[in-house]
């Protein structure tokens, strides 16, 4: 009897959990849709910016900017690690953090001390647990990162870089490749990659359009000096939007798995319960039959 009641209780508990995980899955799906639209909306800006940089570097004949060269002989660098504020998203945070820690350790072997700018409560508590240092902890960025929130971080890092306090800036985040695939990635934010510029150059000349004779105001070189920091800011912003999309997908997948597991468990528990009930009925019948037999 006791066994049966326990089984019923457990089944009820699992049903409740399934209800919760299913709701969370639905919420994550809705959030993913929103985050995805937002991520798509950032594309035109960055594409246009890349186009302008390509046009300008042609006009300025060769690009040379402090953001493109690392100062020599600096033993420090910086890294932004983007994790989530909330849990229940499967391997999302641990994947990013593992990749980041590997990178940090490798950098340490080559003699680079890395300052960690940690975004997200999950990453902060993990690094606390490991006893690693963080120079900055950012928790105010939520599902919908705003450009105004990212800008100060980018400006601060660029300032440090230009002053020669750090040799490079990397970003560790979950890159969104497709709905079915996300990958933890370490992206080099600074120094700005030169080959990317070349790619952009090629892309614009490859189109075979006649070169536009622009009227520049101010001089191309000065314009470029403004454009490159804007590129860096946008790149960092895109990392954040990518990361939020990936986070929602991870949560969606994790909650789907949890719902499925709960369903399986309910089936097993129901089976166990039925068997227990059957056993009990048989026992009772045996008792009655035994009793009747004893009387006659």
């Amino acid at each position: 009897m006791a066994n049966r009641r326990v089984l019923i209780k457990r089944r009820k508990a699992v049903r409740n959990i399934r209800k919760i995980t299913r709701t969370m899955q639905l919420i994550a799906t809705a959030r993913f849709q929103a985050a995805f639209t937002r991520a798509i909306a950032t594309k035109p800006y960055s594409e246009k910016l890349a186009e302008l940089v390509a046009d300008l570097s042609k006009a300025a004949e060769g690009v040379d900017h402090p953001l493109m060269h690392a100062a020599e002989g600096i033993g420090r660098s910086a890294m932004v690690i983007i994790t989530s504020n909330r849990g229940l998203c499967g391997g999302y945070n641990s994947n990013v953090l593992r990749t980041a820690v590997e990178h940090l350790d490798r950098a340490k072997e080559t003699g680079l001390d890395t300052e960690v700018h940690m975004v997200g409560k999950k990453g902060i508590s993990y690094f606390k647990f490991l006893g690693r240092e963080m120079v900055e902890r950012i928790t105010h960025i939520d599902d919908a990162p705003k450009f105004e929130q990212i800008e100060p971080i980018a400006n601060y890092l660029m300032g440090q870089f230009v002053r020669g306090e750090i040799a490079s800036v990397h970003v560790a985040y979950m890159k969104f490749i497709s709905t079915g695939r996300q990958q933890p990635e370490i992206m080099q934010l600074l120094p700005l990659a030169q080959d990317e510029q070349a790619d952009a150059d090629e892309a614009s000349t490859g189109g075979g359009e006649a070169e536009t004779q622009y009227e520049f105001s101010p001089e191309p070189k000065q314009l470029l000096e403004e454009l490159l920091p804007a590129t860096v800011r946008t790149q960092l912003f895109q990392c954040f939007t990518d990361a939020t999309v990936s986070e929602q997908i991870a949560r969606m997948v994790a909650m789907k798995a949890a719902t499925d597991a709960a369903e399986d468990m309910i089936t097993t528990l129901t089976r166990q319960y039925n068997r227990a009930r059957q056993t009990q009925i048989t026992m009772e019948l045996l008792d009655i039959v035994g009793g009747a037999n004893a009387l006659t």
Binding site: Y45, E151, E215
Partner: protein
């Protein structure tokens, strides 16, 4: 686009495309003063300042606060890339006022803080001006 005097105008921020329309005239704040664009403008690449962006379409007029960025004109397409673009409805007047008071009290220690203060003051003043017109 039959015998019209309009050209395409798009305003894009890192977050989204704010405005896509066919305009008859656009006035934007360049880094050294306001600049107007009409149909068949020569290709231009220009740094922008802080100020009011005025877009006139055949039907109506729009005004917007923009904070720096770049403007590009090619083939009768004007693209404005800016890190912030707000319509007067989106501007928080109280917040702008508070910032203005705050930055006016800011101390200038070097060139960087001077520029930052100057920009912040300009930013809030333009926003206040835009909301007043409503």
């Amino acid at each position: 686009m039959v015998k019209s005097n309009t050209f395409h105008c798009s305003v894009i921020t890192p977050e989204k495309a704010v405005l896509e329309c066919d305009a008859t005239s656009v006035v934007f704040p360049a880094h050294d003063g306001e600049m107007g664009v009409l149909l068949n403008r020569a290709p231009l690449l220009c740094k922008m300042g802080i100020g009011a962006l005025r877009v006139e379409t055949a039907e109506d007029k729009q005004i917007m606060f923009v904070d720096g960025g770049f403007a590009q004109v090619v083939d009768n397409r004007l693209t404005i890339l800016t890190e912030q673009a707000k319509t007067p409805d989106e501007i928080d007047r109280a917040a702008a006022e508070a910032i203005l008071v705050e930055v006016q009290a800011m101390k200038i220690t070097d060139e960087a803080t001077y520029i930052a203060r100057d920009k912040a003051i300009q930013r809030s003043k333009v926003q206040l001006k835009l909301t007043k017109k409503q």
